[in-house]
């Protein structure tokens, strides 16, 4: 490993994510947190934007807080291919030497950041929910849940740079967009010849069932074993629609084939942190609670007053979900 000096690495980078031409909210959120850390360190905050035909998006990253945007706009980056994205980011980091690189802990971020960390001999911390700066050492404390949220860990990268992390969305606050902010848009040279892409995306199939992605929803209405059948899930969908939320499910409901796996909340499904989580007929297995205990407000509806879900819920109703859920749907429709 080449000798290196920590002081040679300067600046905070946010790798922006976009799917189908739209920037992901997590990129704005991380620019918000990145701005704060960059200001404390008195360094530049830069965004990295990779893709094909994405240059017009760069100004939005400046408006969201970036001092500089490194834009790599190339047909080779049309689709998300791990090796291409990892290759480009590693070349940029080797050339410009940032001390911190963050991206969203999304399916994309979590897939290609590990490859970059190996290329750069850098440490990588997954799925962070907080960052604290040790100003003296210029080390960033990376705080993350493990064991399905049952353990918190503070991770530090004392002797390597850059310090890389993926960070959970809906945790950090984006700055107000300011179209008057000034920022520099840079198009660095990339040696595409040296990048091999042996896994290529050839098609995308939009999932029909998912109208709202549960990982990003502000409100989630979830059904569990108590819902009883796939047909009965209609009352869950109806409530979700009335309250403009997404449909979630416990593992029991997914394993029974009532709802597709992409709706599963919990340790073997998705971790969600909506503002409101309505748990219907979900008793509250620890594996389920691991995936939703970060919700701002949990409303539990269950016929068993002793169900563990009530121990983490803010609001609870003991009763028959087949009566209460439709009644609540009606009440919401009435306004």
């Amino acid at each position: 490993m080449a000798e290196f000096n920590k002081a040679d690495f300067k600046g905070v980078w946010i790798v922006a994510e976009h799917r189908h031409g739209v920037l992901h909210n997590v990129s704005y959120e991380l620019l918000g947190k990145g701005r704060e850390i960059a200001d404390q360190l008195k360094v530049e905050l830069a965004a990295v934007l990779m893709g094909d035909g994405i240059t017009p998006l760069a100004s939005q990253l400046v408006a969201a807080g970036a001092d500089k945007v490194y834009v790599v706009d190339n047909p080779m980056l049309k689709y998300f291919d791990d090796e291409a994205y990892a290759g480009v980011l590693a070349q940029l980091a080797e050339q410009f030497k940032p001390e911190i690189i963050w991206t969203g802990a999304t399916a994309v971020g979590r897939a290609f950041f590990p490859r970059v960390s190996i290329k750069l001999n850098a440490g990588l911390t997954a799925d962070c929910t907080a960052f604290e700066l040790d100003f003296e050492k210029r080390d960033i404390m990376q705080i993350r849940p493990a064991f399905g949220g049952n353990l918190m860990a503070k991770i530090v990268t004392p002797e390597r740079r850059p310090q890389m992390s993926t960070a959970r969305y809906k945790v950090f606050k984006a700055l107000a967009m300011d179209a008057n902010r000034k920022g520099e848009i840079v198009k660095p040279e990339i040696k595409f010849d040296s990048i091999k892409v042996r896994a290529k995306m050839t098609d995308f199939i939009q999932e029909l069932e998912t109208t709202i992605n549960i990982a990003e929803a502000d409100v989630i209405v979830s059904g569990g074993r108590g819902v009883g059948s796939g047909d009965n899930f209609k009352i869950i969908r109806d409530l979700a629609q009335a309250i403009n939320g997404a449909v979630g499910a416990s593992r029991a409901a997914v394993d029974s084939g009532w709802v597709p796996y992409s709706h599963q909340v919990g340790q073997t499904g998705k971790t969600v942190s909506p503002k409101l989580y309505i748990a219907c007929g979900i008793s509250g297995a620890i594996q389920h609670m691991a995936g939703m205990q970060g919700s701002d407000v949990i409303l539990a509806i269950n016929k068993d007053a002793e169900a563990p879900i009530f121990s983490i819920a803010k609001l609870g109703i003991v009763g028959d979900l087949f009566e209460i859920v439709p009644a609540l749907t009606e009440r919401i429709k009435k306004g």
């Binding site: 004392p158 290529k200 009440r331």
Partner: protein
């Protein structure tokens, strides 16, 4: 087709305890098992072998007791299992672990390397793509279906937040799989008999030509500075009562409205 499946031994419950003095995990209080996501990787390995022929080898890195966990895979029907165990590896983070696992794969030889999408203890999902990078092979994460596979090429479905990406990769390749991909088989009686007698070979770091300067706590880029049990956010729920469902619904509607969720 040489298929290597990388698995991890994890505590068999999420209800783990933290030593309040040291802030470290009380691992001894929990039993251990195979990471649940890795069961899907083992199953997919077996299915690919049934289709293409060849051999399935399951590997892990861990303490000697991890041999018992490897026997689960033997009982499911894999051909061989190998343990990498060495004091020098203790405290390795994902960067160092991936290096060691990649060295194992090099020694075994492979056309395909399978992983569960992540381990339920660390929840990082980093080892699969990192091993692929060390080996300089492509990796497809979050695979929910193998559409087509030949000796040279594979087409899979990758589960994203908003749908499915279809990805075509050349072999050798690494895949990390999600639970939607299959339903793992149960251990067979014949498999259990074989597992009972099976001697799991144990390799040291030297056996896989591993560089001691690449592994262990000291050489890992990341360190755990502190760990603790999170405080639960809420105490006891505020219970909403009423004469009938309509009244309960009305009361909860007002509470939820007060909290600003209904405009």
């Amino acid at each position: 087709m040489d298929i290597v499946v990388c698995v991890k031994q994890v505590p068999d419950t999420t209800d783990i305890k933290v030593d309040p003095e040291t802030g470290t995990l009380k691992r001894e209080t929990a039993g251990t098992t195979m990471n649940p996501f890795d069961m899907y990787a083992v199953e997919e390995g077996l299915r690919l072998k049934e289709k293409l022929g060849g051999k399935v080898t399951v590997v892990t890195m861990g303490p000697p007791m991890a041999k018992e966990m490897l026997k689960i895979a033997i009982a499911m029907g894999v051909d061989e299992a190998v343990l990498l165990s060495d004091r020098a590896l203790a405290g390795s983070d994902t960067w160092a672990t991936s290096y060691a696992v990649a060295q194992m794969c090099k020694k075994l030889g492979y056309n395909m390397i399978l992983f569960g999408k992540q381990a339920i203890d660390g929840d990082t999902a980093q080892v699969g793509p990192s091993v692929a990078e060390y080996l300089d092979i492509p990796c497809v994460t979050w695979v929910k279906k193998v559409r087509e596979v030949s000796e040279t090429e594979i087409t899979v479905e990758r589960m994203m937040e908003d749908g499915v990406d279809v990805v075509k990769a050349t072999l050798p390749v690494a895949l990390t799989v999600v639970k939607e991909i299959n339903e793992p088989r149960l251990e067979s009686l014949k498999g259990k008999m074989r597992a009972k007698k099976y001697e799991v070979p144990t390799w040291s770091l030297a056996d896989v030509n591993g560089d001691p300067a690449m592994v262990g706590l000291k050489n890992s880029p990341t360190r755990v500075a502190k760990s603790w049990s999170p405080e639960r956010k809420f105490g006891k729920a505020e219970m909403i009562d009423g004469a009938d469902a309509a009244e309960k619904a009305d009361k909860v509607f007002n509470r939820v409205k007060d909290l600003g969720f209904i405009k």
